[in-house]
Symmetry: C2
Subunit: 363 residues, 2 copies
Amino acid sequence: MKDVYQIAVVHGDGIGPEVCAAAVEVVKAALGPDCPLRFTEYPAGAEHFLKTGQSFPEPTFEACRAADAILHGAGGLPGVVYPDGTEAGLDFTLKLRFELDLYANIRPIRLFEGVTSPLSGVKAGDIDYVILRENSEGLYAARGAGALLRGEVAVDTLVQTRAGIERIVRKAFELARQSNGAPRDGVRRVTCCDKANVLRSYAFFRSVFDEVAKDYPDIATEHALVDAMAMHLVLKPGHFNIIVSENMFGDILSDLAAATVGGMGMAPSAEVGDTKGFFQAAHGSAPDIAGKGIANPYGTILSAAAMLDWLGRGHGDERLLRAADQIRRVTEACLAGGLLSADLKGRSSTAEITGNVCDRLAA
Amino acid sequence: MKDVYQIAVVHGDGIGPEVCAAAVEVVKAALGPDCPLRFTEYPAGAEHFLKTGQSFPEPTFEACRAADAILHGAGGLPGVVYPDGTEAGLDFTLKLRFELDLYANIRPIRLFEGVTSPLSGVKAGDIDYVILRENSEGLYAARGAGALLRGEVAVDTLVQTRAGIERIVRKAFELARQSNGAPRDGVRRVTCCDKANVLRSYAFFRSVFDEVAKDYPDIATEHALVDAMAMHLVLKPGHFNIIVSENMFGDILSDLAAATVGGMGMAPSAEVGDTKGFFQAAHGSAPDIAGKGIANPYGTILSAAAMLDWLGRGHGDERLLRAADQIRRVTEACLAGGLLSADLKGRSSTAEITGNVCDRLAA
Ligand SMILES: CC(C)[C@H](C(=O)O)[C@@H](O)C(=O)O
Ligand SMILES: CC(C)[C@H](C(=O)O)[C@@H](O)C(=O)O
């Protein structure tokens, strides 16, 4: 337990500042006047790149490295690109993952009361699983390292290491142990999602998974090919508990999964390593709705709750664990009560949702 | 127009023989006693590998190369693997794609009358688009070529070439020109699906797409990141007309898309190059239901209709075009009439469906 926790805050681009400010407000409301978190803002992102030529300034990186946790709104703007065509504004997220070795990207997928799923016959509680995305290698290892030869041939290399696979798979089994199991059958289960049938590196992922699984005989296991998995997330989402997969596949599957529980606005994430933690919603910067005050802040608020949980567990700080719990309970109540933003087919503004959440936390 | 078309038929594994035989029967019924197609069976697949140590015998390859078209049931069995962990039974499909340069994998996604979508509020006609999957490079180029170093590091390399991207993108625009546009707005549209924001090779894909698009000013264009696309296929499937993407992404998205229109049993595909054509449903060999007579044959039947179309257009043969049309119309009528297999929550057996389709074709 610490007297003060330093939180490095990066607002980022598009709706980033709106949802990030909302989450900070909510955390402060939950912890009250003695809030032990100190929030300090640092610049990064596409707008900053346009202004300064740097998307992730060194001082911001140093502050993130020194902080107890990092909170981010959203980054990147389409069209703000490097000469190789990739987006400059994503450096903050992508470099943090690699430089701070944030290997576990934990993406809970849960259908809340009050939110309508696009899947028919599915109600709150029917979808409740975690996509655990490997966050430090895989196809993303090629970011900035791919080659383009004579304008004719482009290559990117997918790299998977035994150590990298082993630690993410262990994390999956640990999450399964802490969980309530899959909604449909209550079974604690880890699903290994890969493309082992076609590619060697994914077959390797699967073989390491099978080895590690032996250490967790209390947890059910299964394999699913990524294409079949995409189908399963639509046809039998209630079957899953913890899904573990390589970086690129995790990226695709987690957006798909979010679509089934209300869209990207409902998708929190926690990106953690052995000592560092980075928290942001899984959505992008949505420049089309930026500045209108209608962005859905729930994803970032839930990500901030995950931050409090992670800090609370790491430092044995009950205050933070309690605050995280309260934020989650109030969020659930607000959603169930119909406090919905435009993306959820409601009419509540970002400010209205944030204000309501804060009021209930204060009460 | 030819007097005789040689069709190389490979039944494959699991339900492969059942659905393949069904499709052959249907084609024969559509073309009647003067059927100009000669079907010859050749062995390949996981079972053949178990028996002989070869999954794709050279004579089968030669026959496929010499044939006017190739028809396949389904291949592969889980557990029948090479030392590197990948599936032996997939050689037939994967080597054919590369050796015969079948660069365009055309996967129509359509919700038929009589089939229930898992998406709420979606009815027949609301979903009608094509996923055009690049089929000759991308991450699949690494098949058999990846490396595993000291059991510690596995790599697979994604390769995209200008020539490869250009031809698939042109194909996409040509398909758009032949189409009726997207169901929701009637707009002829090609969506380029990539991960240009993060990876150079996908940024290259996008840049070649943008160049080629200039030659088709009559067709609307847009970009979608693969993660967002996975979400869109659930949230706004009616928006799409033709989606073009790299091999691995196309694999994932086409299964996801199939899930929204009744599952893998409803997913035909045509894999074509400049001169060669290979036809099979997009589903796997489903060994769990093999031999029970309950497999859904519609995907393979529709793939066979695509074969007739392709042969008919290639050889200016009206008979084949007419037969293709009839098969499609009868298939539609059967589905609308409730002739549904177990996967579609019906009770009709493979034989019942096939028999009904044939009877109506004969009538
Ligand atoms: C913004 C982008 C770099 C990021 C990713 O591709 O990982 C996002 O899509 C995510 O899922 O966190
Ligand atoms: C069977 C397998 C090799 C194949 C693929 O991965 O391409 C299948 O999933 C498909 O979509 O055609």
